[in-house]
């Protein structure tokens, strides 16, 4: 048999219908739904007197708009209606929902894996760009628009054109204290925001193999920021160990059978990708973005670039624009940039290990004067687990706010907004103009780097902020 990549294996297994001159009709194994991109889709079903074909393969939660302080006070009327609608729609169409009061509530890309809904070999969609997160498990997971949400609700399938395949191979080991977030930011800085256009990326190499599942999720989460439709990692023992005992994964003998199937998914030796990109893990240092797209970033030891450093006139122009928006002078050392806000959260970096790595730096220290710092766990269960370890106290003692689970300051769609002109060190995934609030300036970093920035009031190498023994 022809050797195949995991991407082709999953694709081929899910084709329901194929014809000349048309995309393939793919079966969807799991459809995750949230309050923002679903109301119009459910409305479409109702208008056409259609049902949800497989409510058992559909799962809903609330995350984008939810308040993270007082749960029941929803200030924005539209947010309130969107949440009420989701509840109503799920009841009417028989879809399971973890609503704002449910113990399983959280960011959709955090709870899918937590509940074991996310599994190797599945096709997974959600009306959200960062669905690629689930690729960490060896699933083919991608974001869709609202029309497609409606299409999947009513048919459990989706018309899709076969994507290109790209291998991003990360050779060698990451240095101590260099995180998965630094790796993916470095990958995007090196290859650009269009590197993955029209493609699904598989991340391979030693550095990836050595990662925990939570680290792999951080990497896959940002695939879309490199332009890719999806990003995934072939499953291995680390994957199986994580999934064991999760609520929706098979148990007992069925689990062993599942593992036997999952093991067949990994890319065959000798399989060919349309393109291979390589990066050395050793060369990567803690990253900070200085611009208005995720590829505009560099090592914490670098300086803000000069537009003239770039050859392409188009690049020069966009760098100029970015620096104007960010209010940064070319040549400024990254470490001299003062920040006023710190946000630790989002589907990129709001899992227990993320909070632990930030807490390790924060423990026994104080948030710098004039800095507002937030920790927003990705889900209720992350929040509970963190509290059980006393992480909430570590953060609160230092002057951080400790919030309820949700998307929060990742996007300006709820009450958590960075004011105009303020600068935020954020563990999220997008630094576009206005993403965290009108006129707000976002610098993407890892949780450790965000914690260090909160303490120092400016960017600094988190590896140098040694844990205090308290």
């Amino acid at each position: 048999m022809e050797p195949k990549t995991i991407i082709e294996k999953i694709w081929d297994k899910h084709v329901v219908h194929q014809e000349e001159g048309s995309p393939d009709l793919l079966y969807i194994d799991l459809h995750l739904v949230h309050e923002v991109t679903s109301p119009q889709a459910f409305e479409g079903l109702r208008m056409n007197k259609r049902r949800v074909r497989r409510p058992d393969l559909t799962f809903a939660t609330m995350d984008h708009n939810v308040p993270t302080i007082a749960r029941h006070i929803i200030n924005d009327p539209v947010s309130k209606v969107q949440m009420e609608k989701l509840e109503e729609n799920c009841n009417e169409f028989g879809v399971e929902i973890a609503d704002i009061n449910h113990p399983d509530q959280g960011i959709v890309h955090v709870i899918g894996p937590e509940l074991g809904l996310t599994q190797p070999g599945k096709t997974i969609v959600c009306g959200d760009s960062h669905t690629s997160t689930h690729g960490a498990f060896g699933a083919l997971a991608f974001g869709i628009g609202t029309s497609e949400v409606e299409h999947v609700l009513s048919t459990q399938t989706l018309w899709q054109s076969r994507p290109k395949t790209i291998e991003i191979r990360v050779n060698g080991h990451l240095g101590s204290g260099v995180t998965a977030k630094d790796l993916i930011l470095a990958v995007i800085a090196k290859f650009g925001v269009n590197a993955g256009t029209g493609a699904v990326v598989e991340y391979t190499g030693e550095a990836i193999r050595n990662m925990t599942m939570e680290e792999r999720m951080t990497v896959c989460n940002m695939s879309i920021e490199a332009g890719a439709k999806a990003g995934l990692i072939s499953p291995d023992e680390t994957t199986f160990l994580y999934l064991k005992g999760k609520r929706h994964t098979p148990s007992g003998e069925a689990f062993d059978d599942a593992i036997a199937e999952w093991k067949k998914l990994a890319t065959d030796p000798g399989a060919e990708y349309d393109e291979v990109l390589e990066i050395g893990a050793e060369e990567i240092e803690p990253q900070v973005t200085w611009g208005t797209n995720p590829s505009m970033g560099s090592s914490v030891y670098a300086r803000v670039p000069f537009p003239e450093d770039y050859e392409d006139p188009g690049d020069q122009k966009s760098i100029k624009q970015a620096l104007a928006y960010m209010d940064l002078q070319p040549g400024t050392p990254i470490q001299n940039i003062d920040i006023q806000y710190v946000f630790i959260g989002s589907c990129t970096n709001s899992r227990l290990s993320d909070l632990r790595s930030a807490a390790e730096i924060v423990r026994g220290r104080k948030v710098h004067e004039g800095v507002t710092a937030l920790v927003v766990p990705g889900s209720k269960s992350v929040k509970n687990a963190a509290e059980a370890e006393g992480l909430d106290t570590v953060f609160k003692d230092a002057g951080f706010e400790w919030r309820e689970a949700g998307c929060s300051m990742c996007l300006a769609m709820n009450d958590d907004i960075v004011p105009p002109g303020e600068r935020c060190a954020s563990t999220s995934n997008r630094n576009f103009e206005g993403r965290q609030g009108n006129g707000a300036r976002t610098h993407l970093v890892s949780p450790a780097m965000a914690a260090a920035a909160a303490i120092e009031g400016r960017f600094t190498d988190a590896r140098k902020v040694k844990p205090l023994v308290v």
Partner: protein
């Protein structure tokens, strides 16, 4: 963009360009000029629709009355979302688009014929354009994608039985 219905987005279309900070129409934005008020073809700049995976953008265009958007290039997701919502996106080369820009004043009329894949005005053909045959058929028939897929119900069922999906 936060609403729960599909209608009603038209009033927000290009809001920051069309209205000033107090919500009054600005006369320096041309959609506000009388001559363009009933336009159904929008001529736009490069990489139109960039940065929007949500469908609120095409809904707003539709709600405003646009059926066709002409631009030198489109963002991928935006292009798909347009077709799925019954808007025809047409990519023409930069020169033709610039020419249309300069001509499109005072009652200039442009005709789009999807079956011939042709754009023309009173003086004759202006340009031809490409479109995937699959999208063309859908738009010409006014099909919604879901009904097309539901006609394949037997195959979906067979797939589910064969793969024991959900068991």
């Amino acid at each position: 963009m936060k609403r729960i219905e599909r209608q009603g987005f038209g009033q927000f279309l290009f809001y920051n360009w069309r209205f000033d900070d107090d919500g009054h129409p600005r006369d320096d934005f041309n959609l506000n000029e009388d001559q363009y008020r009933n336009a159904s073809i929008l001529v736009a700049g490069k990489n139109f629709g960039c940065g929007s995976s949500r469908e609120h953008a095409p809904w707003a265009l539709l709600d405003y009355g646009f059926k066709v958007v002409i631009a030198p290039s489109f963002a991928d997701i935006f292009y798909n979302n347009c077709v799925k919502n019954g808007i025809l996106p047409i990519a023409l080369n930069q020169d033709t688009v610039s020419e249309l820009f300069s001509k499109s004043k005072n009652g200039y009329e442009l005709f789009v014929e999807l079956d011939k894949q042709q754009v023309s005005d009173a003086s004759g053909a202006v340009a031809t354009f490409n479109i995937d045959p699959y999208w063309k058929e859908m738009l010409l028939n006014g099909w919604d994608e879901v009904s097309r897929t539901l006609s394949l119900e037997d195959q979906i069922k067979q797939y589910e039985e064969k793969q024991l999906v959900g068991e």
